[in-house]
Symmetry: C3
Subunit: 345 residues, 3 copies
């Protein structure tokens, strides 16, 4: 029997199949430090135990996007090792705050299968969950990938395309247990004075900074997530000899850059959708802007929700513009992310 | 109201103004591990909890230069985001040892302002302090930067140039609480047998090692300090497309290389001055030498002070020489650092 | 007296000499996190405290190879700073599990000396030991290096070539205290279902993944081990301007890649031999395969030993082949490693 996992193919998946992903992971202050060396994240709640305490938490949590990358990374061997493309994700919710010392596991359920007309590939839809050592779900999201078939002779009888809500609704989002933004909230420490009341729907924020992606940094990040997709590590996969930057790396870069203008957006609680509309490579200089898509109250007094769109691009681009005259993304747009953050109200 | 901070200009500063810098930071064993991966620091007191215990400390402290970089990094947004040049620092003292778990904040007071004759810029002098979670000052230094004016129409009436003592005097330097170098001090573990008595004023030490600066390593370091100065990250800032290495990165490299010949110089307690006399870029191969500028007793028996000059250069250079015939630094001298360390006497 | 250590020469060593290496090191969860960012290691026992607990350990241990690199790194200043070549190591045993918080020291005993016929150099054999803060030996190995002589006038009278057993025998290997692989062992979490009974002697496993070595990653690794051998850091040492990748970096890459097919090989307990048959440089894309050399029971029920040969190569190479028709290693073979791991039986 061959010992090596060469990944699954489209025919290997059945609706309802539950895949328990290997290698649980205990996250520590070491992971948080490496995350800072990778992204220079400056949101105060992740940076200072004291600030986190003033916000009602026991200590600085593990950043939500670090949790996302870990859970996503665990799913690669079972879901996307042979993926032709990561098509999208949706309905992502962070349900329970993760702290240093917590151990996370991941599993995915097959919720949709649709063969492509070329018969060489199909689309696999999964719902992926991350769970902590108490069995509590910390993260839940849907993603879909285009995946190779073993054979174009095989035939899927009944395609199942899951009903995916376009967005998470504000009511479905969870304010972390204990979180409060009250008179102890230190705006000076956080870096800006803006509460949810200072933003207006439609407002555009140019985050102003620009960062050039370095080869080693995205490799170190992707290794830290134990994400072993070949296309990130092996220069012999792509014809151009380039290593594709893991899309989540760009998401974390954008989140970190968004501090300038959104410094009080302390926690990410959900993602409606994330599209990596063009590939990112080492050497690209990335800038980003955000737009306020919505402002909502939560059940916790003082804690508001912002729905944000953050767009990463390289080169020169007018802020707020992503589509050409024909409605296609400009070739220098890299990421179009629609997500939810908590902010003092 | 625009949400993005694009940095302050010369006209924004007034004498006596106190700037509380954003984003407190809890330092952990994770930060110390990343610091080792960046600089390979080998001074035993930071490397071994047991060695630190034998020196009267509770555990290995956070390296003083790591503390410096963190506090300096916090000041960038308020002080040097629009700096044309970092001109110097002085009177730096490490006043309280920082341990894993401590949370640091930073603030700067404006102590000097002087317009340049070109009317486009001016010189800003600040005194920056780092404070721990108990409100104790851990670090105190003066720095001055050349900074853009908003307009060359504006006019500063009365220049204030602060009196900056050329050097910290030995009496002003603080031996960390509890520190002792006594019969438990393990010279074998430390790596060398030399005490303060083995050095003579004027002595030159060639540290012998050479390290080539790598792009990713200085980027990771600068991100870890949450230092967001554009010139370090963005290849589109400089005409030559290069990213300037943060000066403090060179200081930490030199400190680490100085182990070879100064292995018992366990703790840094002050910096008289640090001049980045030429810019450093990835690809430069750095060597360094030190000179003993002074040897002093402290109030703690067994603990002596060395005043050191450490000079970093690239290429070939005679040890001990920094100036050409006209008294200008040679173009391959990168750093001229004058500082204080503690050593067994 | 010159303060700088420029390393020892062949004439400086005497049989029986004991060299206590400098700079003890406390290992932490920070080091484990950096190790993950470097190698993306996925063996569950190092990744999850819960999994380690289910295997009878108190928490995830520090990876054995990380321990090896730390102890090896400490020996460089005294043993191989002036080495012309690292010729080999043998009889390596991991004797005591290392946990975050443990402090390690290293020492080497000179056990062999043999002059080369060219009179310019000789071969030094040492036995190196790593010890924890309780004085327990955690690691023990023999290595031999070719080392420069001070002078070709000097003459060694009696060469001593130590008797080095070709392999560690299974009886000499230590199962970590408390380790058990019983009904609590979670094969799903570990990633594969194979126990020692599923492998056969002679079986070849193609680990399938490929990773391109990046300059910054091997530099960061080598710094983390406080290994200051010049040839890894200084582009001016080799005529081709390349920095040689530390051999242990390739070993850790291979161990991590071997997860795919050997996911239950949870702990490394010994190394028979490791040959870096050709140098590795940044840019090389590394693949590897393993062969099962032996399968043995231990005294602990449920815990078996695998003797493995893992071979790293670059470019294209038939699995299982390392020698050309004349019995020389192919030029694209990088590492030939013969070692022992524990696996459920």
């Amino acid at each position: 029997m061959p010992k090596t996992n060469i990944g699954k193919f489209f025919e290997d998946y059945k609706i309802g199949m539950l895949l328990k992903h290997a290698v649980p992971r205990t996250l520590t202050v070491g992971d948080s430090a490496v995350y800072k060396a990778l992204y220079s994240s400056r949101f105060a709640i992740y940076s200072s135990d004291r600030f986190a305490l003033d916000c009602g938490l026991g200590s600085s949590p593990i950043e939500e996007l670090l949790v996302f990358h870990i859970i996503f990374g665990k799913s690669v061997s079972d879901i996307s090792y042979n993926a032709i493309a990561n098509l999208g994700y949706a309905n992502c919710r962070f349900l329970k705050t993760v702290y240093p010392g917590d151990t996370l596991t991941a599993e995915s359920e097959v919720i949709g299968l649709k063969e492509n007309s070329n018969l060489n590939s199909g689309i696999l839809y999964v719902r992926t969950r991350g769970t902590n050592q108490e069995g509590e779900t910390v993260l839940d999201f849907i993603r879909w990938v285009m995946i190779k078939k073993r054979s174009n002779e095989s035939k899927l009888d009944d395609p199942v395309i899951p009903a995916i809500k376009e967005n998470v609704s504000p009511e479905e989002l969870i304010v972390p247990a204990g979180l409060k933004f009250d008179k102890n909230y230190d705006f000076l420490a956080a870096g800006e004075n803006f509460t949810s009341r200072d933003y207006v729907v439609g407002e555009l924020i140019d985050h102003f900074d620009a960062i050039t992606v370095d080869e080693s940094e995205h490799l170190a990040a992707t290794r830290l997530w134990q994400n072993n997709a070949k296309v990130h590590f092996d220069t012999t996969i792509r014809r151009d000899g380039k290593r594709l930057v893991y899309g989540g790396h760009v998401i974390s870069m954008v989140r970190s850059m968004s501090f300038n203008g959104l410094a009080n957006a302390q926690m990410v609680v959900g993602v409606n959708s994330g599209s990596h509309v063009n590939p990112t490579f080492a050497g690209d200089t990335i800038k980003c802007w955000s737009q306020i898509l919505g402002i909502f109250e939560t059940k916790v007094q003082g804690v508001a929700l912002l729905r944000l769109r953050s767009v990463a691009y390289k080169g020169e681009q007018e802020i707020g513009k992503v589509f050409d005259a024909r409605g296609h993304y400009f070739p220098n747009i890299l990421l179009d992310l629609d997500y939810w953050v908590l902010i003092p109200s």
